[in-house]
């Protein structure tokens, strides 16, 4: 179910009304309402997939209780570690089976892959699997308060409540299929009774308006144009078209994913939950390292906490640090999809991260010129690497570069459309730059009339000027 569909609007209204029913302000009721809504949301397009999600929820909830019991009540770390390892392994096995089986089988010559081709790719499996792993690892690391640990490992009636709570954490519909990936330690503590009067309305409305504006007005319009970067249209594009379209895709993927994340954050706020920000104006980054602190923050921090640091991080010498960086980015690329192009994309980012570390050393000196040059390099490297994301295969990437010598004439309406919508992503980042560098000047416009006008314009555009409806790009991951 898409956030920009009529059926989602109905589901949201019904869920919201039931959630805040005045006579039923009970914790279990509210969790149950959101669990049922999440199940509806997820099962809407393919009912069968709900079984896998349910299995993931129960598996991780049971494992959490077992880990708490063995580690903190019976003081048996060995058993707890066994539970942790097996749960992580099963989570990863499910992910590999449903997402990578076909890809891996394709690597073995002569192996028939017909049966594997029929395995459906469950939407959002990469997201909820990572949340499941986060839950058991955070539990094992004792990242929860004692009260929470007691609640999560309670017996009798409390057992069912705990399973419901943890299933709710894994399947909460705003972030279920495309993030942000919420760490268990950031979310589980928030589960509790929520009141209508406590809703952060301005925050929720602003997130929703901005999110829908970025997605439906900017990304969907740009998507209608960037589709021509593929066969058969790509061969009829001029070098100007190709350049404008690549930058447009860079803006589109940002607007699409950041828009989705903002909608998720706004929706969660309507139900009293705070999700972490996922994008912090990534195109302001002055290095690839900084880019990854600003882009898909929830994935970067997940990879840092649950992969990079356990691998040794930067504590085992510089050689090992470079290897760790490359491994993390390589797997980060693979997380996006079972294809060589994602591996290539991740690996290239890893190489740039390692190079920056190697060449940058420990110098913290930042001059204006260095910042400008750094921004120029980062933005263009990131944009160029999006080609691997967009194109179905390496051949089409080659075709893109060959197009620069084709001598075809430019398409004015295509360039017009890209500029008309792409420019708002630039404006969005310029405003953010002023926010970061001239906070006193910008604080005058916050929370008042000017902000109301800006959001009013965006809302009007969402209502009257949305683009051709497209699925969110990150749904496929």
């Amino acid at each position: 179910m898409n956030f920009n569909s009529l059926e989602f609007g109905v589901l949201l209204l019904v869920t919201f009304a039931l959630y805040y029913l005045p006579t039923t302000r009970y914790r279990q009721w509210q969790v149950l309402v959101l669990l049922v809504a999440s199940a509806f949301f997820y099962a809407w397009n393919d009912f069968k997939l709900i079984y896998l999600l349910a299995f993931s929820c129960v598996l991780n909830a049971v494992a959490t209780e077992r880990i708490i019991t063995w580690k903190f009540k019976r003081d048996n770390d060995k058993k707890a570690l066994q539970w942790l390892r097996w749960t992580v392994l099963i989570n990863l096995a499910l992910l590999v089976f449903f997402k990578y089986a076909m890809f891996l089988a394709g690597l073995i010559p002569g192996l028939a892959t017909n049966t594997l081709a029929t395995i459906p790719l469950p939407v959002g499996i990469s997201f909820y699997t990572f949340q499941g792993i986060s839950l058991v690892v955070d539990t094992y690391r004792r990242d929860f308060k004692q009260v929470q640990l007691d609640e999560l490992a309670s017996q009798g009636k409390g057992r069912l409540r705990s399973i419901f709570d943890l299933s709710f954490y894994i399947s909460f519909f705003p972030q279920l299929v495309a993030g942000p990936i919420v760490k268990a330690r950031e979310f589980v503590g928030q589960i509790g009774v929520k009141y209508f009067t406590d809703v952060a309305w301005v925050y929720a409305i602003k997130s929703l308006i901005l999110g829908y504006f970025l997605k439906t007005v900017i990304a969907d319009h740009l998507a209608e144009n960037t589709i021509v970067l593929t066969i058969p249209w790509i061969t009829s594009l001029s070098s100007l078209d190709l350049t404008v379209l690549l930058y447009s895709y860079s803006f589109q993927i940002f607007a699409d994913f950041a828009g989705y994340s903002l909608i998720a954050i706004g929706l969660a706020a309507l139900f009293g939950y705070k999700l972490p920000i996922n994008f912090n104006f990534p195109y302001l980054a002055t290095s690839i390292t900084e880019f990854w602190r600003r882009w898909h923050i929830s994935l970067s921090s997940w990879l840092r906490d649950y992969l990079y640091i356990p691998l040794g991080g930067n504590r085992k010498g510089s050689g090992r640090t470079y290897i760790n960086l490359c491994i993390v980015m390589f797997l980060g690329g693979l997380w996006h999809g079972a294809a060589w192009k994602y591996l290539l994309w991740g690996a290239l980012h890893g190489v740039f991260l390692a190079l920056e570390r190697l060449l940058g050393g420990k110098s913290k000196q930042r001059t204006k010129l260095r910042a400008v040059l750094g921004w120029f390099y980062t933005f263009h490297v990131v944009t160029l690497l999006w080609l691997t994301f967009l194109m179905p295969d390496i051949t089409q990437i080659k075709l893109y570069f060959e197009g620069f010598t084709s001598g075809a004439s430019s398409h004015a309406s295509l360039i017009f459309s890209c500029l008309l919508f792409g420019v708002w992503v630039i404006v969005y980042h310029v405003v953010a730059w002023f926010n970061e560098h001239k906070p006193i000047f910008m604080s005058r416009s916050k929370g008042g009339m000017l902000e109301g006008i800006i959001y009013g314009v965006m809302l009007y555009m969402v209502l009257t000027n949305f683009g051709p409806p497209q699925e969110f790009i990150y749904f496929q991951f």
């Binding site: 009529l6 109301g452 006008i453 009013g456 000027n465």
Partner: protein, 287 residues
């Protein structure tokens, strides 16, 4: 804070709605073609749905989409689409039933006749039908679409009325002989696509449409050989389905047809082409 924010938000929306309505009413911005192919096509569909009694339906891609609609002509040209998609829309949408269907020959080969089409789904949706009833939400009134149309009308070259008369002297009209088939000799044509296409057109004929016309629309793309192959394909379909074939490319020989972007007819040339098409149809129906 919430009061100032929400008051200015609501006030801005109301103000924008009034400005928008004013531009729609007094701005004299015509046409359905805007920067988005999707919404240009939806605009044509909205216009077509408002036609009470349609005599002729034009189905095709953006090439025929540029031909003007009128009180008794519905134009269902799909920008970036094909005649097959357009016919699907005609089949599935709520339109007045035309006696004559003109199918664009140029995109007839495209194998989309049985494809699920996003636009077909949208046309039947509740939201589309609700939105087309409200001026501010109609596809041809989108703010950026209006902006595009203004820019286009200011800067678009070659918009002079063609000098030739609109009689049908240079136009090839007729039902190609049955068995006119070069299909098997052309590698880009799939036999299955051809059969599907023929089946679809026969189905339309059997459902009470009096006259089926396959028409070649002048356009600025493609080599001579490619054009010839496409035409022969369309003629073969016409022969199999007993449809009339009209070749409007003859209009180009007058040297007066103009293209706005090197591909599509300019508004004046589109008007002129439409007149020639209607005269050709008149000649057929008088036979």
């Amino acid at each position: 804070m919430i009061t100032r924010f929400s008051v200015s938000l609501v006030f801005t929306i109301l103000l924008l709605a009034m400005i928008h309505l004013g531009i729609i009413r007094w701005g004299k911005i015509d046409g359905v073609k805007e920067h988005s192919n999707y919404f240009s096509s939806l605009s044509r569909i909205e216009t077509a749905m408002n036609v009470v009694t349609a005599d002729i339906a034009i189905c095709g891609s953006s090439l025929s989409g540029r031909l003007p609609a009128s009180e008794n002509i519905i134009n269902l040209g799909v920008d970036g689409g094909s005649a097959g998609q357009s016919l699907n829309i005609l089949k599935n949408g709520k339109f007045s039933k035309p006696n004559i269907i003109c199918i664009e020959a140029n995109s007839l080969y495209s194998d989309t006749l049985e494809q699920e089409d996003k636009i077909v789904d949208v046309v039947n949706s509740i939201t589309f039908n609700w939105r087309r009833g409200v001026t501010l939400f109609q596809s041809h009134n989108r703010p950026t679409g209006l902006f595009y149309k203004v820019i286009r009308s200011k800067f678009m070259p070659n918009n002079q009325r063609p000098s030739g008369n609109n009689e049908v002297k240079n136009i090839e009209i007729g039902i190609p002989s049955e068995g006119f088939s070069v299909v098997e000799n052309v590698d880009w044509v799939k036999k299955s696509s051809f059969n599907k296409c023929v089946q679809q057109l026969r189905h339309i004929k059997n459902n009470g449409v009096e006259t089926l016309v396959i028409v070649w629309i002048p356009n600025g793309v493609g080599s001579g050989d490619r054009k010839e192959s496409l035409k022969n394909y369309a003629k073969a379909v016409a022969g199999e389905t007993r449809a009339y074939f009209i070749d409007l490319e003859g209009l180009e020989t007058n040297g007066s047809i103009q293209y706005s972007d090197g591909v599509h007819l300019s508004p004046s040339s589109a008007e002129y082409t439409q007149e020639c098409l209607l005269n050709s149809i008149k000649a057929i129906t008088l036979k």
